[in-house]
Every structure is written in C-alpha cells, then in structure tokens.
Subunit: 137 residues, 2 copies
C-alpha cells in the first residue's frame, strides 16, 4: 500500500527557498537563505524559512550541517550521500565525496547494530587559502 503521503502545498515561499538551495553551492545558513529569499519575496519571514527548511529536511530534500566554529546550521539540497569540507580560514564549505570505506557498514559489530547515516565533516584549509600544502605550513 502507498505511504500516507503528507499533505503539502506548493507555496511560493517553499519554491523560492528550494530554488535558492538548488542554485548555490555555498551551504548558506537559514539567515542567508532568508536574505536571499527577500530579494524575491520581500515579506517572507525568517520563521517561514525555518519551517520550510525543516519540512524539506523531513522530505529528504534538504540537509542540515552543523559547523564546528559557527553557531548557525548550514543547509544544502544535495541528496546524494556526501561529506563536507569546511575551510577555517575563509569559512567556505564544499561537498566532498564520502570515502567508500564509510559506505559499507564495517563498524564494530559489537556495539553498532545498524547504520542509518554517516555525517563526516573535514576541517582544514582550502586550496585558495593555503596554496602551499604541507604539515604545519
């Protein structure tokens, strides 16, 4: 039988928010999405942005990332499993492929029974910020 199919409406606000997410790779915060959305919908409220981000997250259409050194969550709408890289110098965040070894569930079987989700965040410096790679450079 079909899943209960959550009732939802295609509001302009929701479409604009999803569109913003789809057109950026910057992993914006709710506030950032709000400011961007205001360009199209000058009356949209921050609460609506949060509500829609939560809705989209529930639908599997958006993902929330919690940075280490920033107090606000960031969001993206890349639904393929992936990791994130956060440059501590320019604060830029980019997607990273998830290492294959993490896809397989080769975790300690004694304590982990089932893996639902793998959240991997790498902190460091991006190529633009630290042109000469090397330890302690």
């Amino acid at each position: 039988m079909e899943p209960p199919a959550i009732k939802s409406r295609n509001t302009r606000q929701r479409a604009v928010i999803l569109d913003i997410l789809r057109q950026t790779k910057a992993h914006p915060t709710a506030e950032g999405i709000y400011h961007e959305a205001r360009k199209t919908l000058p009356n949209i409220s921050l609460g609506t942005v949060y509500r829609n981000l939560n809705f989209l997250r529930g639908q599997g259409l958006a993902r929330e990332i919690r940075p280490h050194n920033e107090s606000s969550s960031r969001f993206d709408c890349n639904s393929h499993p992936h990791a994130h890289f956060h440059c501590r110098q320019c604060n830029g965040m980019t997607d990273l492929p998830l290492p294959p070894s993490l896809g397989a569930s080769d975790w300690e079987k004694e304590r982990v029974s089932r893996v639902d989700f793998v959240d991997l965040l790498v902190l460091g410096s991006c190529a633009g910020c630290a042109p000469q790679p090397g330890p302690q450079n």
Copy 2:
C-alpha cells in the same frame, strides 16, 4: 623559546569538571556535567561549567560533539582521534575508532589543501536497541 603558557589556576571547579569527564563514557551535555558537579560542589554555576568546558577545549583536553537530533552539545575528554556513534533510539553515544582511510589525507587535493581535523558522527541503532541487524529491520 617556550610558548606563552596561558596563565590558569587549578580551581576546585575545574578539577571536578575534568574529573567528571574522565570518569564517564556517556558524553554528557553541559547541563549533565553541571548536575553531576553539583553533587560535589553544590554552588557551582552553569556558567562556570560552560567557561571551563571552553577552557578545556582550548587546551585540547575536552572535545565538543554536536549531535544531530539534540539541541545541546555533548562533551568528552578522549584526546585520541576518534569518531562517535549515536544511537537514535536510546540516545547513547559511544566512541568509535576512526577508519584508517580517514587519517591519511587522501582528499581531493584540488580543493583541500590541509586537513586539521576530521569529525565523524555515525547515526544508527546500537546493539542493545536493535538486536537483529539487517537493512530496514
């Protein structure tokens, strides 16, 4: 020459907080540490707990973990690189070894210049909560 050596005092509060972290594997929240500390120091304040956790973090003696489905950070004082597993059923959090492939810096060299820290959080069910492993079980 010696590093500037941050001035700090061995207060009873700081010692108690560090002790609590060292004696548990539960990855408690600041609030949890606060309640535990009150058993020894009935007048300790939550602000002091936060200030000390931040201090210890700065010293590399404590680590902050931001769970996915809980609004409060959790803390541990295991200074060896490691990952975390969070059971979504019982909310228990345990340490996990960091897969060796993540220790090496075999990330996309084009965008990542230097890796400082790898934060890996695995979500799922622990053995106690889901005795029969298997997909969608």
